[in-house]
């Protein structure tokens, strides 16, 4: 999946993954994909909830080792 931007939020604890994702999504255009990498276990449910609250689409998520990956399509 072609991401317009990749955000490395690994090692960050709540609420920073969501805070950084919010900032990063402001830097891309509607319809583009933001790829986010995290290690915070809470970010799995948090980024899902965050995308929903902003009307963004969580297109795909994956786990690779300790890293959670999210692909969010900006509304």
């Amino acid at each position: 999946m072609e991401a317009a931007k990749v955000l490395d939020a690994k090692g960050l604890a709540c609420p920073m993954p969501v805070v950084r994702t919010k900032k990063a999504i402001e830097e891309i255009n509607a319809g583009e994909i933001l790829e986010v990498h995290t290690t915070d276990k809470g970010s799995k449910s948090d980024l899902t909830a965050w995308a929903k609250s902003g009307g963004h689409e969580l297109v795909k998520e994956a786990e690779e080792g300790d890293v959670f990956k999210f692909w969010i399509k900006k509304a």
Binding site: L12, A13, T21, K22
Partner: protein, 132 residues
């Protein structure tokens, strides 16, 4: 979450209290909610220029300090500046400032000093009101 308004009362001044207040405030602001925090009594420590950088852990819970470091939790100073950057409204309670002999200059910049009625006016149409 746009068009959602969150009103928070911060009435306690320990490190745990500060994390509850600022984590929820920044998470709400990151979700496009309008957020306002009313700092009263010991909650004023959270926006005191010096005190907010070194808030106490509850007595007997000092060992959690290590846990905060290991979890790579942002500092309160960092969360406070993120909250301000995201437009979280910070209201300091005038009456408790008088009781605690605090001047506006002793608090961080960018805050408003206001009375109880101002917070009530802000919170009257809030979707969530949280008290810590």
């Amino acid at each position: 979450m746009a068009n959602t308004k969150v009103a928070i009362i911060a009435a306690n001044g320990g490190l745990f209290d500060a994390y509850k207040v600022f984590n929820l405030a920044t998470a709400a602001a990151a979700s496009d909610a309008e957020v306002g925090i009313f700092f009263t009594f010991e909650g004023l420590n959270l926006i005191h220029k010096e005190a907010h950088k070194n808030l106490p852990l509850p007595e007997g819970k000092e060992h959690f300090e290590e846990g905060f470091k290991q979890a790579n939790v942002p500092s309160i100073a960092e969360l406070l500046s993120i909250a301000q950057e995201m437009g979280v409204k910070l209201l300091a309670c005038q009456m408790t400032m008088d009781v605690m002999k605090l001047e506006k200059e002793q608090l961080v910049g960018g805050i408003e000093v206001a009375g109880a009625a101002s917070f009530i006016e802000y919170a009257k149409d809030a979707n969530m009101t949280l008290t810590f």
